[in-house]
């Protein structure tokens, strides 16, 4: 580096870097030189704090004057009145304090020295010495069995909390129940949420109905059951319906039932487009073609919606022929085991 420098002309005798020029001159505010401007700023600060006082009074008044009531409008009125009072109560204090600091307090910047965070070598050496003395006193290096016993007991004792916690937290831990729903042979299909049985003759072509199994409300955990068993029931023109091989008797006269729980991450597949027979999940837009076995035609799902085999009972009501033949809903590790 020095070799290079010597070869250069005089301009290069200059330093490599510019010098920090030091603090720029201080510019005075109007209030620093004009007492009237100063007084005016003070009055503004007082006015802002006064706004806060009025805001608090308004908030308390609104609390008594506007009960939330029974309609959305009365609720919003109450919210608006109290909220504005609160906002002014707070903003008055905030803007007042900041304006005070900016216009009336000193605006002379001051500098403070920084010191490296690192301890000095001397202090470091002392720290090491302290640790060495302590280690020597406890003789931790030599007492290996003791060291092992301490480490093992410390490592093991959290199990006293963790084992009972983990044991209880997952209920019965019977993850196999992901694979079963409450549908079984002969369970009637009923409307969601009222639970009325559905006659095959009443299902019109192009319609879509959300369906729950009969007796859902009588189960121990209706929401858990519903989260697995809910089904969409559709009737298509039999000419449009591509019946899947092996599922010839799973539909009844163009009426098909598919799990409503998306095979992606489990949202209800709730949007139906009648013209195209597409069922769309509003969460992540997985799209299923119900005319063709509810196979995925777009989006992040991989598998078709499981089909519920259905038929009619002697009274003409739609019933399940069995449970789903595969686990419904999102994929999981032991799904096919």
């Amino acid at each position: 580096m020095s070799d290079d420098l010597e070869l250069r002309d005089t301009a290069d005798q200059l330093p490599d870097r510019f010098e920090n020029p030091g603090f720029p001159p201080h510019e005075q505010r109007r209030g620093d030189v004009d007492p009237r401007a100063n007084k005016f700023s003070e009055r503004i600060v007082v006015a802002l704090f006064a706004v806060s006082i009025l805001g608090t009074i308004a908030m308390i008044a609104a609390y008594f004057a506007f009960p939330p009531g029974e309609t959305a409008a009365s609720m919003q009125r109450s919210n608006l009145a109290m909220g504005l009072g609160l906002a002014f109560a707070l903003l008055g204090i905030g803007t007042g304090a900041v304006h005070w600091a900016k216009s009336l307090m000193s605006d002379h910047e001051v500098a403070e020295e920084r010191h490296p965070l690192r301890s000095s070598d001397e202090v470091r050496a002392q720290a090491v010495e302290v640790l060495k003395e302590g280690a020597a006193d406890s003789a931790i290096g030599r007492r290996t069995v003791l060291k092992g016993a301490v480490a093992t007991s410390l490592a093991l004792f959290p199990l006293t909390i963790v084992v009972p916690l983990v044991g209880n937290v997952g209920g019965d831990w019977d993850v196999a129940s992901f694979k079963r729903t409450m549908w079984k042979k002969g369970t009637r299909l009923t409307t969601d949420p009222l639970g009325r049985p559905i006659k095959a003759a009443d299902v019109t072509i192009g319609s879509i109905t959300s369906v729950i199994p009969e007796g859902l409300e009588e189960t121990a955990h209706p929401l858990d059951e519903k989260a697995k068993a809910v089904v969409v029931l559709l009737r298509l023109d039999p000419r449009d319906l591509k019946i899947q091989p092996g599922r010839e008797d799973w539909q009844y006269d163009g009426i098909v039932a598919y799990s409503k729980i998306c095979t992606h991450v489990g949202c209800p597949v709730a949007l139906y487009e009648q013209q195209t027979h597409h069922l769309l999940c509003p969460c992540h837009q997985s799209t299923f073609d119900v005319a063709d076995g509810a196979k995925v035609i777009f989006g992040p799902a991989k598998r078709a919606l499981p089909q519920l085999p259905i038929t009619v009972d002697t009274e003409g009501y739609l019933v399940a022929s069995s449970d789903f033949t595969e686990p419904i809903g999102p994929s999981f590790w032991e799904r096919l085991r």
């Binding site: 870097r17 983990v166 998306c262 209800p268 991989k302």
Partner: protein
């Protein structure tokens, strides 16, 4: 010792030695800049969350026990719902000020996350994470993750249809985890989804566990700020060895204290005038219905967007075990990469720079083209995912095909960040060249002068030393170079391969650069009236990296930004 204040001070000081602390802290200097307020907004919206949240806990019932609604809201009367949802309705319709506090709480949560992320962007783009603040960056990063956890756990508490579907999605994502996924779902829900354990558990997480951790880490975050003193923007008189600003008392007591009330006040104004999360319109959770256009809170949109973009075909079955990569990649791998890159960045940059000194003067983003471009490309990737999380709303508002939007965004996720990287880097280099030009030639004056000889020149106004300092204060950073593979005796050096890798990374960061004007260049431009013929820059200094003199700085000339 007669006034009550003096007596109290004496009492306290005799028992705590408070006087020393007051002397130490009351005049502590903090630099002033608007961008330093972003972190304050995060802190104050958190305090707002604690205040409004405490109010809400008095009336919210964290229970999934089923009740029949009989309150004032007519459209839900007779509907069966959880006590959690019923008490949320009660908070809105029967507790005076309850709706206001709910809306304050929700808006404050959104602003909390937004200010954390913008504060993090400020810290990133100005290099405030450099030594000695790398650890505080990690603390801040952990606070971001805890903020997400706080937001999500709170958002799910009212047990309405929208939040219930959010939980359903979390269940689906959790189940996708190989081997332990199903058990994870049981762990969270206490059995099958939705179960009856979740809301009380989330409540404990939301009001005790997560805020307790946030509070502790906020304390640590601020302690470390005080310990290292605040960074400052470059300017005349400011160096790495001083801190220039205003004293804590009285300036920042008034300014920062006042700013808390402004933040809370603005949140109150939003809560008063802008409705948020009207759960009475959504209804209680039921696994069957879902509304179209359903979306999570904004800070979760990127995850939802990633789930939406992923093609479904990648779900695989290995030995009859199902591995739903179509869920795992967007919900775990992509955010994992994004967050790991963010958390590790300070350490990667320090490694590539080979710089072991403390830095207290911030970088102007243009002076760090690689870092700025990398940050922008991460943000663009995040933004593409946010857009993807809103693809249904884009489709309905702009009458576009949702399939087309999804396909465009699938490509954009890869192309847009790369393009943003290149454009940003070029812009930084161009801005640096502009700085050089202004330093060398001064400001354009707009005055054309004609000499007697007929020559025209434009008069340039030279910069004063303060204007110039801003543009020349930064140190040029050159890529690390590798010392020869063999030492003077021809013995192959240990660690040569590692040095090669490090030098390659360093070149990625710093090969393209524009260096600040040196006094020699300025003198040359004044004497020649041009800077076309610049003397070569001084060759690079040897840097000691890792205690070995194995890496030396590149000696390419300044201004060769290609």
């Amino acid at each position: 010792m007669t006034s009550p204040a003096a007596a109290t001070a004496d009492f306290l000081d005799q028992r705590t030695g408070l006087g020393a602390a007051v002397k130490e802290f009351a005049r502590k200097v903090f630099p002033d800049h608007w961008s330093f307020l972003l972190g304050e907004i995060a802190l104050y919206s958190f305090v707002t969350l604690l205040i409004s949240g405490t109010f809400l806990t008095m009336f919210f019932v964290p229970s999934m026990t089923e009740v029949t609604y009989s309150g004032p809201w007519a459209s839900l009367q007779g509907t069966r719902m959880s006590e959690a949802f019923a008490s949320t309705l009660r908070l809105s319709f029967e507790v005076r000020g309850g709706l206001l506090m709910r809306q304050v709480h929700h808006w404050a949560a959104l602003i909390f996350m937004a200010s954390i992320i913008t504060h993090m962007m400020r810290v990133f783009f100005t290099g405030a994470f450099r030594k000695p603040r790398e650890l505080n960056w990690v603390v801040g990063f952990t606070l971001l993750i805890l903020g997400l956890a706080a937001g999500f756990s709170g958002y799910s508490l009212p047990d309405d249809v929208l939040s219930g579907n959010g939980l359903r999605i979390s269940d689906g994502v959790l189940r996708a985890v190989p081997i332990i996924g199903s058990y994870g779902s049981y762990f969270l829900f206490g059995g099958e989804f939705p179960g009856e354990a979740l809301i009380p558990r989330l409540f404990t997480v939301h009001i005790l566990l997560v805020p307790g951790l946030i509070l502790a880490l906020v304390g640590l975050h601020l302690f470390m700020v005080v310990l290292a003193k605040h960074t400052q923007y470059p300017g005349s008189g400011r160096t790495d060895r001083n801190v220039v600003g205003f004293p804590l008392f009285p300036i920042y007591v008034a300014k920062a204290g006042g700013f808390f009330f402004i933040v809370f006040g603005v949140i109150a104004l939003m809560a008063a005038t802008m409705q948020i999360n009207p759960v009475w319109n959504y209804g209680p959770y039921d696994p069957s219905p879902v509304s179209a256009g359903s979306q999570p809170d904004w800070y979760m949109l990127f995850l939802d967007g990633a789930l939406r973009l992923m093609p479904g075909g990648v779900e695989v079955v290995i030995a009859n075990f199902t591995v739903p990569l179509n869920v795992l990649i967007p919900a775990m791998v992509v955010p994992g990469i994004l967050f790991t890159a963010l958390a590790a960045y300070p350490f990667i940059e320090a490694y590539a720079t080979g710089d072991k000194r403390e830095h207290h003067v911030l970088d102007r983003p243009r002076n760090r083209p690689f870092r700025t471009a990398f940050g922008v490309s991460l943000l663009v990737a995040f933004f593409v995912l946010v857009l993807a999380g809103s693809n249904d709303l884009i489709a309905t508002h702009f009458h576009l095909s949702i399939n087309d939007i999804t396909w465009v965004l699938r490509f954009a996720l890869f192309i847009a960040p790369a393009a943003a990287f290149m454009v940003t880097k070029r812009m930084c280099l161009a801005l640096q060249r502009r700085d050089r030009e202004i330093v060398l030639h001064g400001h354009e004056h707009g005055t054309i002068v004609r000499f007697e000889s007929g020559e025209y020149i434009e008069v340039h106004q030279p910069l004063n030393e303060h204007e110039r300092w801003i543009r020349v204060q930064h140190e040029p950073i050159r890529p690390l170079q590798v010392a020869p593979a063999e030492d003077s005796r021809g013995v192959r050096r240990k660690g040569y391969a590692a040095d090669l890798r490090r030098a390659r990374l360093s070149r990625l960061f710093y090969a393209d650069r524009v260096e600040p004007v040196t006094p020699a260049e300025l003198a040359a431009s004044h004497s020649h009236g041009t800077h076309d013929e610049l003397p070569p820059a001084p060759s690079g200094q040897e840097l000691v990296a890792g205690g070995r003199r194995s890496l030396v700085a590149d000696d390419r000339a300044p201004g060769d930004g290609h």
